[in-house]
């Protein structure tokens, strides 16, 4: 079984596999440098990670972040991006960028959009005139953006949709659109097109989609349509099913996942890449991610809490001044949360650093082949009492050979 793959603009190499679970540690080399997998990718929606400079973002350990095609297509617009020379030049980011197809907005705006075989028809946010997003247009936009990983336009519908006929149509159309995307892709030597597996929660449909799309041999593969309100048991089943069928030697990206426990479980199920706006959005609402759970630092109980956001965290905010950090306390975040944007910047730095560092620890555990122990200690710390660990997590992990309550 091959453990590596190479295409014109990507090299993927598995360094270690967990001997119990399906977890893998690998290196993904993209045009803007190597990315250690498993990885969490923060979302810089409009070519900016919510108040952080690219240098600050790099300091969190990030070398691969997201931009949103839909947003960049509106502002600054394709023409401007063309003149400037793409999103890397626009934002002064030396690392890698992944862009979505612009199609995700369909899920949330489904009622406002009409999907045909040709593409997605929606109204222009500028003047309300009808606009058509086709696979060709999406790829053309992403070619102009110049992102290192580009995503196919897919027909996304909510996973919880009871309409099996529509679900099947969406899955099959996504395969057809993949072919159109591959044909339209002008810069395969510089940008990597990833396919997106669809099929909702129907495991049979997912299987068909996996087989069909794997045959197209894209440099990487995404599992899409999840994180849309489905229950976690179904989510885990879909990821588990797909990773069993997908080629080992390709990176696997589960879209829209960012809760720490979702990340560590999904890694055990064989996924490598994740993204989510939650860590940065929740930071702006004053919420800190910590090893013992999420803290709402706007709560008055933190007004006099002069400890770091997370005592074990090594981010710029949490390290003491003696250790070259800023020595930011929970009390100070309470003081500025929702009042000064600097407070949001600090928590954004912390949350992104926290998740990247968590993935670093996950990776080290896989390489040292102690991922099952890592999972046990992670959940013990997060929930205190092993009995409080959610059943979906224990079930999913038992299926890959880890008994959390052991």
């Amino acid at each position: 079984m091959s453990t590596s793959s190479q295409s014109a603009a990507l090299k993927f190499e598995i360094l270690a596999r967990c001997s119990t679970t399906k977890a893998r540690a690998s290196i993904l080399t993209l045009p803007h440098g190597p990315v250690p997998l498993p990885i969490f990718q923060p979302v810089a929606t409009q070519a900016s990670l919510k108040g952080l400079t690219p240098v600050q973002l790099a300091q969190t350990g990030c070398n691969l972040c997201l931009n949103n095609t839909y947003h960049l297509g509106l502002k600054p617009g394709q023409e401007t991006l063309e003149v400037i020379g793409g999103a890397h030049v626009l934002q002064g980011w030396k690392g890698n960028i992944l862009t979505d197809s612009g199609g995700f907005q369909m899920v949330s705006l489904l009622e406002l959009a009409k999907i045909t075989e040709e593409g997605v028809c929606f109204s222009s946010p500028h003047d309300g005139t009808p606009m058509l997003l086709t696979p060709e247009h999406s790829i053309s936009l992403q070619n102009t953006i110049g992102s290192d990983i580009i995503m196919q336009l897919d027909d996304v519908i909510v996973t919880t949709s009871p309409d099996a006929v529509r679900m099947k149509e969406a899955m099959q159309r996504s395969i057809r659109w993949l072919d159109r995307c591959i044909a339209a892709h002008k810069r395969p030597e510089k940008q990597n097109l990833f396919c997106i597996i669809q099929g909702g929660l129907d495991l049979e449909m997912r299987k068909i989609c996996c087989e069909e799309m794997a045959r197209r041999d894209t440099p990487g593969i995404a599992i899409g349509g999840l994180s849309g309100g489905e229950d976690k048991v179904s989510y885990c089943q879909v990821v588990d099913t797909c990773t069993d069928l997908l080629p080992q030697n390709k990176p696997r990206y589960v879209m829209g996942v960012g809760y720490p426990e979702d990340l560590v479980v999904s890694v055990a199920l064989g996924a490598d890449m994740f993204d989510c706006v939650w860590p940065t959005r929740t930071a702006r609402f004053g919420n800190a991610i910590t090893a013992t759970g999420n803290l709402n630092l706007r709560h008055a109980s933190f007004a006099n809490d002069f400890t770091p956001i997370d005592a074990d965290c090594s981010c710029e905010c949490c390290r003491s001044e003696e250790k070259g950090g800023l020595g930011i306390t929970r009390a100070y975040i309470y003081h500025v949360a929702s009042k000064e944007t600097a407070g949001a910047h600090l928590l954004t730095m912390h949350n992104v650093h926290y998740l990247l560092s968590l993935m670093g620890k996950v990776r080290a555990a896989i390489i040292e082949d102690r991922y099952p122990e890592f999972l046990r200690s992670y959940f013990r710390k997060a929930y205190g009492d092993m009995q409080k660990i959610p059943t979906w997590a224990t079930t999913a992990l038992r299926k890959v050979g880890v008994d959390l309550r052991a």
Binding site: G51, L112, S123, C276, H345
Partner: protein
């Protein structure tokens, strides 16, 4: 508060804070060069400025940005930013409880201000919001995050004792927003004197005193004759205790007794352009708090002046702008820095097109980058001012500056960041400052129903939802997002 100890006259701060005037002479009404040094802090060459903080941070700049990407080495903090829990909920302000050694400032640790920077504490924010209530004999009116309140001078003394900043500004009976009446003016000096005496007592208290805090005394923004009793006290009984003066009016220089000319002068006078600054410098003001730096950044304006000004191009006789409106779409594809040859973080890492995009997309980073650049411009401005004073060319250089640049900063055309209650005071029948981020759900539904109808009719959409709304409703971000 314990009584003043009785081991002879206690004296404040002589050894920890010193100010040396270098040139040309320590007389009033002349530009002057000075060196303000404070134990353990980076010395400040004057004329210079102190950064103005809001709730402990220079607006838009997280602490790492301030440390790593600015040359800010002095910061002003207002007590009204920290005491809302005391004023409105009768609780000890959390900052008072921050664990710190006696030689440390709990305030500095709380706001994570670097050790090398000078920390100055005063009662009110800069610029202060006018308050409806007047001062009393023992308190001034303030604005906290929870609303209007009163600051008793005894509470201010306690705050100084607890927070131990490097420099504290004496609480003055200064009115903001309107001119004091004649009778009121008479009381201002008396009140300020009483409060100053109390503060000196508190700061020299044997048990709770602040031997590492220097005191700057206010000069009231009224005629010298109207505060003569207070001014006399400053040069006589209080002179040993004060290390500097705070001025609220440019003209107050004239009220300073010649025997106090050796003291550094911190100017909180209204300053809205670099021309105002040059005027105040020419009269002998030393250190400035400059609200227009942050207000320009908020307005999307990149300051673009330098001192000495560049040689005027005879072919373009029109005045140069003091700043560039970065909202203008003319910058949308410009890969130039904000100012040519500028060495600030923003200009060495980014270009105009990005700043324009960030403002247009209402991304917070736009204001961060402008704030870094604008502080750098002011740093360079003061360096140029000091050189010209040393070289005895200040007046000529100033004249050339006035001639070359426009009188005012450009008008704000775009939308600024969201403002908070403690940052502005709304006037009656004023339009709302922050446009609504969310629309009522039923309003959205109406639109949705409309859209469906039209869709059915014409097979095309006629909805107009702007991108900002999409984002605010949480549907625009991310490839996928959690809704569970």
């Amino acid at each position: 508060m314990a009584a003043v100890h009785d081991h002879g006259p206690a004296r404040l701060s002589s050894s920890i804070c010193s100010f040396e005037l270098q040139s040309p002479s320590p007389e009033a009404n002349k530009p002057r060069i000075g060196h303000l040094s404070f134990q353990d802090r980076v010395p400040i060459e004057t004329p210079h400025y102190v950064a103005v903080s809001s709730r402990g941070a220079v607006p838009h700049l997280s602490q790492d940005m301030m440390r790593g990407n600015t040359r800010i080495n002095a910061m002003y903090a207002a007590i009204e930013d920290f005491i809302e829990k005391a004023t409105h909920q009768s609780q000890t302000p959390p900052v008072f409880n921050f664990p710190a050694a006696p030689h440390e400032s709990p305030l500095r640790k709380f706001i994570a201000l670097q050790k090398s920077a000078l920390l100055i504490l005063g009662p009110r924010r800069i610029p202060p919001l006018p308050c409806p209530a007047s001062s009393t004999h023992s308190a001034i009116s303030i604005v906290t995050a929870l609303g209007y309140g009163m600051l008793e001078y005894t509470d201010y003394i306690e705050a100084v004792q607890k927070l131990r900043p490097d420099i504290v500004l004496g609480m003055g009976d200064v009115l903001f927003g309107h001119k004091p009446g004649f009778k009121r003016r008479d009381m201002m000096g008396d009140r300020t004197l009483a409060w100053m005496k109390g503060l000196v007592e508190g700061m020299t208290d044997e048990e709770n005193g602040t031997p590492r805090t220097a005191l700057f005394a206010p000069i009231l923004p009224i005629e010298a004759e109207q505060q003569s009793y207070y001014l006399d006290a400053l040069k006589d009984e209080l002179s040993d205790h004060i290390s500097g003066l705070v001025l609220y009016d440019i003209a107050s220089i004239d009220a300073i007794s010649p025997t106090l000319h050796h003291l550094p002068r911190l100017s909180l006078a209204p300053i809205s352009t670099p021309h105002d600054l040059l005027n105040a410098i020419s009269l002998g003001h030393d250190i400035f708090a400059i609200p227009f730096i942050t207000s320009a950044s908020d307005a999307g304006i990149a300051l673009s002046f330098s001192f000495p000004s560049p040689t005027q191009d005879p072919n373009t006789p029109t005045a140069l702008p003091l700043g560039i409106d970065m909202w203008s779409p003319t910058h949308a594809t410009s890969l130039s820095p904000l100012s040519p040859n500028c060495t600030c973080y923003t200009c060495t890492h980014h270009h105009r097109a990005y700043i324009q995009h960030l403002l247009n997309a209402k991304e917070m980073l736009g204001w961060v980058l402008l704030q870094l650049h604008n502080h750098h411009i002011i740093d360079e401005f003061f360096a140029g001012v000091r050189t010209s004073i040393k070289q005895n060319s200040f007046q000529e250089t100033r004249t050339a500056f006035h001639k070359l640049y426009t009188a005012e900063l450009p008008e704000k055309t775009g939308q600024g960041p969201r403002v908070r209650g403690y940052q502005f005071k709304s006037e009656k029948s004023e339009p709302r400052r922050n446009p609504p981020a969310y629309r009522a759900l039923d309003h959205g539904k109406e639109k949705l129903d409309d859209a469906k109808e039209k869709l059915a009719e014409a097979e095309k959409l006629s909805l107009s939802v702007d991108a900002g709304d999409l984002e605010e409703r949480g549907s625009g971000e991310g490839l996928g997002e959690k809704v569970d």
